[in-house]
């Protein structure tokens, strides 16, 4: 047993931390820290800075131009990014489509798409979910009918995150209705500029406009945009979903949020004393901190296993459940710590030159919005209920 990182890993962490301190633009870090929305330009700017350093493809093998880092280094990198309040690297191209293309794509597809998802040419979005499907992903209905050199695609995708900025979408489409629902699904790459595609924003309960519906009406897609074999898309989709995610638990992000919460609680006052010393609030914070400490060890255990070449079983589902619940609890405590001021919705206070008075303390203008927005985390990416089904299946076997 050894809970410590190796000397090399410790030095690597220093290197990442040092580089971030010098290269992460302060305005971006400030936005991330206070949960203010990022523009497309913000995200692309940061992506290109990372790309120049060669770290954008931190999770890719060297043969495809990646860093070739193992799970532990990837984890450290992600932790440091979280601590520094760097904008998250959008996963759709780099973490989702990328690995699928590397494993199942043709050489031509790899050569064309992989570089372009790094250099800012292609912004990718994901076309998995459909309005009627929800957790039952395989019941999807968007149909692709072969017509000569093309597929004609009709249907509707939803929850397409940042689809409003996207150049391309990777879609699961139904190419056959024979057999089980899983058997007639194919994996298609679609240029968003193709006629017949319409993106309609979905406003979320916090007022945000991150997700979209994507409507497809007689969209012509060249057959060479098919990934792998027709009707085998479910295999690729599952590969993507179960593809080793070393930081599904979001330890770095939650540690960062906890630190921010503690600072807030030290400054807020209840009965003339810091809120952090109120026994009920202190207990709430301590409980989530302990859960996070335990989960961090659980996460390291999975990581060590992955580093040794093993693949995690039910632990991935456990980490998804725990990680999202801890994240949600932190957003809950943050809004609680703000008291009455959590009711104010004052994004203008984040603007440069804002002149007060603040309602919530600086950096906490949108705490309630963040709380409501985070309700999604236990719904998407395999809901908590689905994860419990998986845990039960893998361990109890029923």
């Amino acid at each position: 047993m050894d809970l410590n990182f190796t000397q090399e890993e410790v030095e690597f962490r220093e290197e990442v931390r040092g580089w971030l301190a010098e290269n992460l633009p302060a305005d971006l870090a400030r936005k991330v820290r206070s949960d203010a929305p990022l523009t497309k330009d913000d995200m692309v700017r940061w992506q290109l800075i990372l790309h120049e350093k060669g770290w954008l493809t931190y999770s890719w093998p060297a043969e495809f131009g990646g860093t070739g880092w193992g799970p532990v280094k990837q984890f450290i990198f992600e932790e440091e990014m979280a601590y520094a309040c760097a904008p998250r690297i959008l996963p759709f191209g780099l973490k989702m489509l990328g690995p699928v293309l590397m494993k199942f794509g043709t050489k031509e597809q790899q050569d064309y798409y992989l570089p372009r998802m790094c250099d800012g040419t292609h912004w990718w979005c994901q076309g998995y979910s459909e309005p009627g499907a929800g957790s039952d992903l395989a019941s999807l209905k968007t149909a692709a009918v072969r017509d000569g050199d093309h597929y004609i695609v009709n249907g509707q995708k939803t929850w397409t995150t940042l689809g409003q900025h996207a150049d391309w979408i990777f879609c699961l489409v139904r190419t056959s209705t024979d057999g089980k629902p899983q058997e007639g699904i194919s994996f298609l790459l679609i240029d968003m500029k193709t006629p017949g595609i319409e993106v309609r924003p979905i406003q979320t309960i916090d007022g945000g406009r991150e997700v979209n519906e994507v409507w497809l009406t007689d969209v012509k897609v060249p057959v060479e945009n098919l990934v792998g074999e027709e009707n085998k898309g479910w295999t690729y989709a599952k590969y993507l979903l179960t593809h080793e995610r070393t930081n599904i638990a979001g330890v770095g992000k939650s540690n960062q949020e906890l630190a921010r919460l503690k600072e807030l609680a030290a400054n807020q006052k209840r009965n003339g004393k810091p809120l952090a010393e109120d026994p009920f609030f202190a207990a709430r914070m301590a409980k989530v901190e302990i859960a996070l400490m335990n989960m961090e060890i659980t996460n390291l255990r999975v990581l060590a296993q992955a580093e040794a070449g093993g693949s995690p079983g039910a632990e991935s589902s456990m980490l998804k459940i725990l990680g999202t619940e801890i994240e949600q609890e932190l957003t809950d405590l943050t809004r609680r710590a703000l008291g009455r001021s959590a009711q104010a919705l004052t994004p203008e206070a984040d603007d440069q030159g804002f002149n007060g008075p603040y309602v919530a303390p600086e950096g906490f203008q949108n705490a309630s919005g963040v709380y409501f927005n985070h309700r999604k985390t236990t719904i998407y990416g395999g809901s908590t209920e689905i994860q419990k089904n998986i845990i039960n299946k893998m361990i109890v076997g029923l």
Binding site: I205, R335, R336, Q343, A344, K376
Partner: protein, 364 residues
């Protein structure tokens, strides 16, 4: 023992219910909650005409109710339809203080829907503690001059006057301050509505009640507000309950309606059971308004604690059982859930009231 309302209160409830069902579409409420003044003045006036405000005041103040169960009936109905008209903030709370201070003209105008006032009591540095008052009042020749800041004064914009708590040498007192005496920074609230930061810089104020009597007067108003909020939350929970039941019965996943999944069935059963506990808490609080001392304080604190705890459960579980659709602005549920959660941020959250309950247990 009798757990049905009087005929008068049942008729009132029916009247409000019918009016809101017919004439208070949610879309307009949501829209109003994102713009100025944060509510629909015509609706507010219509509610006043229906007697919604008069029901909150006793006959000798020009109303026809004013008891705990009157407040509970009104706000439960308002909650069911997610009404964000400022009935609590501009009528119930300031009206009961003004009545206690003998300002009968102002109360009449409030009941008629012709005037709106707001209580400006909570300060930026205080977490729900109404006795944490840094605003100062200095005696002038014929009145008082107030200086300080108040936070999250709901529906402040357009008010005819403000009731402001301020400290003098005799402790906390309440003052009536004209709208022209204060500066407001107005903004939208997360749950749909508006509020303002209020600053006073030597504002002229008129003492309400006795000097130093402010804490007792505030507590009296707080008890009414807590009851109103709790009843509003109960109304919201009932609508959420109906929406969730309907969704469980109709939404299909994996080929069956999701209400067939036992894991969801058991969670729904827990939610249903907790909502009945919330209902009991509100009944108990409504009754307690006619009691006094530690018993009253304990029961009312217990209600707000219960509403805070159960409200969070209902909001979070109903969203989770709905899945993605509940995350959208377009679907009604999220708006109900937001208000339910934010009710815990008004007049003391669940921890605040748990502490209060414990404190009054020791005193008893």
């Amino acid at each position: 023992m009798e757990f049905t309302h009087t005929d008068t209160r049942r008729m009132l409830a029916d009247t409000i219910d019918r009016y809101l069902r017919d004439k208070y579409p949610l879309a307009a409420r949501v829209e109003a909650g994102t713009t100025e003044p944060g509510f629909q003045p015509a609706q507010y006036e219509a509610l006043a005409e229906l007697g919604v405000i008069a029901a909150l005041f006793p006959e000798d103040q020009g109303g026809f109710g004013g008891e705990g169960f009157d407040i509970a009936v009104v706000f439960e109905e308002l909650g069911k339809r997610l009404v964000n008209e400022p009935v609590m903030d501009n009528a119930l709370v300031p009206g009961s203080i003004l009545a206690a201070a003998g300002q009968s003209d102002a109360v009449e105008n409030i009941i008629a829907g012709a005037a709106r006032y707001a209580l400006a009591a909570e300060e930026p540095q205080a977490l729900y503690d109404l006795t944490d008052v840094e605003t100062r009042a200095e005696a002038t020749g014929d009145g008082w001059a107030l200086t300080g800041a108040k936070s999250v004064v709901k529906y402040a914009s357009g008010c005819d006057g403000f009731i402001v708590s301020a400290r003098t040498d005799k402790g906390v007192s309440l003052f009536l301050v004209g709208a022209d005496q204060v500066s407001l920074r107005d903004y939208v609230t997360v749950d749909g509505g508006r509020a303002a930061e209020l600053t006073l810089d030597g504002a002229a104020g008129q003492l309400l009640g006795d000097e130093g009597a402010g804490e007792a007067m505030l507590q009296e108003a707080a008890d009414r507000a807590v009851l109103a909020l709790s009843a509003e939350a109960l109304g919201i929970m009932q609508t959420v309950r109906e929406m969730t039941i309907e969704y469980l019965r109709t939404r299909k996943q994996f080929g069956v309606v999701i209400g067939k999944f036992q894991a969801l069935q058991h969670r729904m059963a827990e939610m249903l059971l907790e909502i009945e506990q919330a209902r009991s808490a509100v009944i108990n609080a409504a009754n307690a308004l006619s009691l006094s001392g530690a018993e009253r304080a304990r029961i009312i604190a217990a209600a707000k604690y219960s509403i805070g705890r159960i409200g969070r459960l209902v909001a979070e579980e109903s969203i989770q059982m709905h899945g993605g659709i509940a995350m959208t602005w377009e679907y009604d549920l999220g708006h109900f859930a937001k208000r339910l959660i934010l009710i815990d941020h008004e007049w003391g959250d669940q921890d605040f009231h748990l502490a209060r309950f414990i404190e009054h247990g020791h005193a008893a």
